[in-house]
């Protein structure tokens, strides 16, 4: 691996604070060479693959330029995949951000160093970021055919509620499980903003005769709004890019884009149609890039309050 420390050759003998006469003779670019290993690595394992996706989306199997892949993706069932993906992501981002914000508020009111807060933050970190396949199995154990809740309802109420668990393996299941990992992610992203609400603001509002409602409506709400929408966008991107949970959960068909892409990579049928898979991947990049740009804009707005 080319990840050595910056080579000695590019280091002039003088420190950064004392640009002596000797330094001026060295080309200005020289210290920048120390970044070569890093950007070289990134170029090979991040930029090159991305470039291959972008280019491949506009090439046929023999490498000739074509628009057929893009046309395939924007006209057929794949377009429905995008619509469904966006619906699932938007629904779970909405539910996750509202519930997660409530949880963040409840946790922020507790002691800063208390056990409740530390345990909640640590477990939310686990559930939000390392779940994937494991969360799918957690829900199979809960609502699956032999899941705890399914069996309980069947044995004790004698009803076959929720059709014995089949809903879990389709789109409804995806929405429920995704929401499950969106709530903890919201807590982690949103908690710092809630922490930054100054107690003086509440005091000022109270001393001017404002009710608790007035405080939240006119002071805390507007101050938190940019952070809230930023976090919701992040949640959207998070759900939209997820593959693991869906792959472990969905048993039939490929309702959402990441699964369709996975299909292209694994199934024999798709051999020789790699271009369409790349066009799907390009579509994902476009959606996520738009969402993340919005996020950056909103975040700038939020930074005015988070100081």
């Amino acid at each position: 691996m080319s990840t050595e420390a910056p080579p000695e050759a590019v280091t002039p003998p003088l420190g950064p604070a004392s640009p002596g006469a000797r330094r001026r003779r060295l080309p200005w670019l020289l210290p920048h060479l120390g970044l070569l290993p890093f950007f070289g690595y990134l170029a090979v394992f991040l930029l090159w693959p991305t470039y291959l996706v972008l280019i491949g989306a506009f090439q046929d199997d023999r490498g000739r330029p074509t628009l057929r892949n893009v046309r395939t993706v924007t006209t057929s069932d794949y377009l429905h995949g995008f619509v469904r993906s966006i619906e699932v992501s938007a629904t779970t981002a909405l539910a996750g951000s509202v519930l997660g914000a409530l949880l963040a508020w409840a946790v922020a009111e507790s002691r800063p160093d208390g056990l409740l807060r530390r345990v909640t933050v640590a477990s939310c970190g686990v559930l939000a970021q390392f779940g994937g396949v494991m969360l799918a199995f957690a829900f199979l154990a809960t609502f699956g055919f032999n899941g705890v809740v399914t069996l309980f309802l069947h044995d004790h109420l004698g009803v076959n509620v929720l059709s014995g668990g089949t809903w879990l393996y389709g789109l409804t299941g995806l929405v429920v499980v995704y929401t499950y990992f969106q709530i903890p992610l919201m807590l982690i992203v949103f908690l710092p903003a809630v922490d930054n609400l100054r107690p003086e603001w509440r005091e000022a509002s109270m001393s001017l005769g404002g009710s608790t409602w007035a405080y939240w409506r006119y002071v805390a709400g507007p101050a938190l709004a940019p952070s809230f929408f930023g976090a919701a966008l992040l949640l959207f991107a998070n759900a939209f890019s997820s593959y693991a949970t869906a792959a472990a959960l969905v048993s039939q068909g490929s309702p959402i884009v990441p699964l369709q892409i996975g299909n292209f990579l694994t199934s024999e049928v798709a051999l020789g149609r790699g271009g369409a898979g790349k066009a799907l991947a390009l579509g994902m990049i476009v959606v996520v890039a738009v969402v993340m740009s919005l996020y950056a804009l909103v975040q700038r707005k939020a930074a005015t309050w988070l100081r």
């Binding site: 120390g34 949880l103 409840a106 970021q129 957690a138 982690i188 472990a248 994902m284």
Partner: protein
């Protein structure tokens, strides 16, 4: 996994939080609402985890049985995958630190105007979903496997990219909080070489940040499924998923064990962060046992 703000504590020492806030007496409806929120949402988050415990300890007739948990210790595929994933995470941590620490230190000391560019580059993987990366990385892995063999450990190359945003955030915080520039200048003026500055001056001062970056990387690698499964490597998550088709109880048991392990890691991370030199050590009485 597109979180910019993660639970990773950055090295920046936070301003002391206003402590008068939660102590004050409040109207009880708000307090009741708060507890209702904690119980309902907390309950929803806990339910599947408790269900895992129940599901994985089901006996044949009526009693409880730990067979599924015992199976973890005797299933060769599973043990192999666990070992492989642990090796992968260790390798990823080492590679990430070797790539990131010298580069970021160099930027910090010598080319500060490149800081935004490096930060942007490190956050880029959040905009490019792992599933998209896999689509384009095929040809590169043909070369990697040709040069280095077909070991799952080659996944390290992609994993370094995937953990980059999180590791960058942690290390950036560490570099920002210690006065590295002055220390490095002093060491250089006393005749230390750059590698020596890195190892003897910078590393000890950003130890906490390095530990944070390492823990988050380990947890991320242990939970990774997308890349491993689509490149056909049998890591822990891939094997859990395969096993689930045959013996759901064992899969649920391993999943529960892995989640628990990740929780212990992250809880330890929170402890490490609060013990960072420069911050007041946490009151010993507040340290409850990890549930």
């Amino acid at each position: 996994m597109a979180a910019v703000n993660t639970s990773v504590p950055d090295g920046r020492t936070r301003p002391p939080r206003p402590s008068a806030r939660s102590r004050r007496a409040r109207p009880s409806p708000v307090s009741a609402l708060r507890w209702a929120v904690l119980i309902v949402i907390g309950g929803y988050l806990l339910l599947p985890l408790l269900a895992m415990a129940e599901f994985s300890t089901r006996g044949t007739a009526t009693g409880r049985s730990l067979d599924a948990w015992r199976e973890i210790g005797s299933n060769a595929d599973l043990l192999g995958a666990i070992t492989m994933s642990l090796e992968l995470s260790a390798l990823t941590v080492v590679a990430t630190l070797i790539l990131l620490v010298p580069t970021m230190t160099w930027v910090h000391l010598r080319v500060p105007r490149m800081r935004r560019l490096v930060e942007f580059a490190c956050l880029l993987p959040l905009t490019i979903p792992a599933i998209v990366l896999v689509v384009g990385i095929g040809p590169i892995y043909l070369w990697v496997n040709y040069l280095l063999g077909d070991s799952p450990l080659t996944l390290t190359f992609v994993y370094v990219i995937l953990v980059l945003p999180y590791a960058h955030r942690a290390i950036d915080g560490g570099l920002g909080s210690a006065d590295i520039v002055t220390l490095a200048e002093a060491a250089r003026s006393l005749g230390a070489s750059w590698p020596r500055v890195l190892v003897n001056i910078v590393l000890p001062n950003i130890r906490g940040a390095v530990i944070s970056a390492s823990i988050i990387s380990v947890a991320l690698v242990l939970g990774e499924f997308t890349v491993a499964s689509l490149l056909n490597f049998d890591t822990l998550q891939v094997v859990i998923n395969l096993l689930g088709k045959r013996d759901a109880a064992v899969s649920v048991a391993v999943s529960a064990a892995a989640l628990l392990f990740a929780f212990v890691l992250l809880y330890a991370l929170a402890q490490v962060a609060s013990r960072r030199p420069g911050t007041v050590a946490a009151d010993a009485t507040e340290e409850g046992p990890t549930p």
